[in-house]
Symmetry: C2
Amino acid sequence: MNNGTKKIGKLFGIGVGPGDSELLTLKALKILKEVDVICSPRASRDQDSTAFSIVFPLISDIVDDIDIISPVFPMKEDEKELESYWDEASNLIALKLDEGLNVAFITLGDPSIYSTFAYIHKRLKNSYEIEMIPGITSFTSCASNINEILVEKDEILIVVPKVDEKFEDFLINGDSIVLMKPSRNMKSIDKIKDKINAEVYTVKNSSKENQEIIKGFSSDKSYFMTSILKLKK
Amino acid sequence: MNNGTKKIGKLFGIGVGPGDSELLTLKALKILKEVDVICSPRASRDQDSTAFSIVFPLISDIVDDIDIISPVFPMKEDEKELESYWDEASNLIALKLDEGLNVAFITLGDPSIYSTFAYIHKRLKNSYEIEMIPGITSFTSCASNINEILVEKDEILIVVPKVDEKFEDFLINGDSIVLMKPSRNMKSIDKIKDKINAEVYTVKNSSKENQEIIKGFSSDKSYFMTSILKLKK
């Protein structure tokens, strides 16, 4: 008996971790194998999706049976231009959900921490059922790479994507600071260098085959870098 | 040919996530299946290890072939008394490593974030090869549970285990604050309640079958709670 109720799909925001396919959770992999559609963001039409390259080795045997969509999320600074890309991607996902299909949006690291999923979540959370699946964040992966504890006991961890006037305050009040995407902050770091009393490590391409650990900051322009500052007291 | 060099084992510090066995990574599970010894901390002689209860369903078929040791890490405040427990556990692990056995120390959440592994790491890192395997932290799991983004764009995330004079500063300079183990901070929270302009969520037993989401803080005394403050600006 068909009661006429239209089935609406469910959206999963899945964290795929920092780069190593083996850092996916069992839950993330299970859901990827069950959904109808995988949505994997990419930086431009000419580039493959980094998130998809992480999950591909794990689902290569079933990939032909899954509908894969790869909307472009360009790395631009112009907020207004970006909005139109996020709207477009959200509309594309909504169309699939309206067809009754379950969609997994895959995102680097964890969906709640500086993820591309945030922009989709904001647009669709009031209209569709969403479940977020946590992933390994870049900064805990980096801590493992450098074999260092970030915080213990009563210590304070501060995660910042930008070095501004607040940063000097954090140098006093924090115990470990994670600086996301340090390459775009090197000018500001240079200005306050003398005030930084810390062991600094920078990890490039954490958990990937081409991973590099740099003692101190790095002038490298890579997007896939994270700096960890263990402050000395 | 035996060249007389004694094989020394390797120590893995493995994050097993917040509670749901499916939140283990593929890598963590692979290593657990390969090691000779699993070391799972427990709070007292009368209690089972929480970390072990998370991994057990995944390795139940091979558990008889693995040497399992469960040193006690009591939840006490007296640092000096605790030191002796940590020393004892480290010595126990060192004995196994000296026998040439590979040991996996399993720890809730991630090994770099307020983990029991930190105390072992400190004692053994200069004498033995250690590899840390990142895990899902309680706070990204909680963010997924409440279906909220923690930080996006230039926002700042601050993770604190204690509410003290610095906390008021963080209420101004942060965007999202994670308060670990809020139960031991409720008196301090009560005192500054009027200064907290935030959406507050508390998650108890994140990702477990008995998970609870509380809007606001909770007077519950549970150890397995985390509060998330999304500050209003």
